[in-house]
Subunit: 200 residues, 2 copies
């Protein structure tokens, strides 16, 4: 019985993964709005109705894909946060990586950008959860930086929130898009050093 319910779960997870894979590929190619569940089902050789055994709505698929993307971003950030370098350097790399991720996602595949924008406007929960996770990561780096004497004594949680707010121009897709070709703005490097300086 254990084996049975396990394999059922496995099969279920597998179907979910296959659906997400196909959906993400189609969304990337045709855009979110122009891909319908019939397209996804056809791509997988199943009926549209069957999709709804695994996802309650098309929006839920969208949210799941956004969740995966954000998880990738978090994964990257997590690894950087564990690097054996100074706290300041980890913050530098964190911002650089995050910013780079957004830039390539926007320039390489324009459709992805569209998905994230929609997500920010609609799927608040996934985004909020991601921001919370990122704050946790920042908090830990800052705490270690304080312990190492790199940063001034301060509340790490509040500092992490402020650091996130101060660098939002580098991490918020809409803002990054708006500021891309503006000459009179601070460069990513300037902002990075400015925010790190605020912690000292």
């Amino acid at each position: 019985m254990d084996e049975t319910s396990d394999s059922l779960d496995t099969v279920r997870q597998d179907n979910i993964a296959r659906i997400l894979e196909a959906a993400e590929r189609l969304f990337r190619h045709y855009g979110y709005a122009k891909t319908n569940v019939a397209d996804i089902a056809r791509d997988l050789g199943m009926s549209p109705a069957n999709i709804y055994r695994f996802f309650a709505s098309k929006t839920e698929i969208h949210q799941a894909i956004c969740g995966r993307m954000l998880a990738g971003s978090y994964q990257q950030a997590y690894e950087i946060s564990r690097l054996p370098v100074s706290a300041a350097d980890r913050l530098r790399r964190y911002l650089q990586a995050e910013h780079q991720l957004i830039l390539t996602a926007m320039l390489d595949h324009e459709k992805v950008h569209e998905m994230v924008i929609v997500a920010i406007e609609r799927d608040w929960h996934v985004i909020e959860k991601h921001i919370d996770q990122m704050h946790e990561l920042l908090e830990e780096i800052i705490r270690q930086g304080i312990a190492a004497g790199e940063f001034a004594e301060q509340d790490p949680a509040a500092a992490a929130r402020s650091f996130g707010a101060a660098t939002v121009v580098m991490c918020h897709p809409q803002l990054v898009a708006q500021c891309l070709s503006k000459p009179n703005r601070a460069t990513p490097d300037e902002i990075t050093e400015f925010a790190i300086n605020a912690l000292r």
Copy 2:
């Protein structure tokens, strides 16, 4: 002849002012999109065609009104920048006033918010010019702060740009709207102190 051309200019300026006054009142009441130039003309007892002797397009009226609003914001900021208090205090008041302005504009008259959002998406030039002016103001305050020994030795222009970028969450209408009811974000006060700290 001087008198003639002067009075012509005066009359012209007067007409422009009257048009802007009427347009702003109607935009505030009915919203930008739902107000047409015929409405503005009727409100002033003139023909729609006459409006076009003073403005090349409806968009130009919109831009002019935005320009006036931003000029008001600049005026306020300019006065704060001249206050006989420490540079840090002037920056605090500057941010507080700017943020408050956006909050009241958004909550009191929702239509104004709509206009600014449209302006940010379309009328890039007015907005860019305003940002440049604000940067100049910040630069001067920071320069004085450096001279007074309040802030560390640094390039005031770069510092002003960074300060602006770091506090964008408090000054950018779209962001302010998005972050309004989010509990897990840095408070205006936290962000303010964080940004000022970065200058020391």
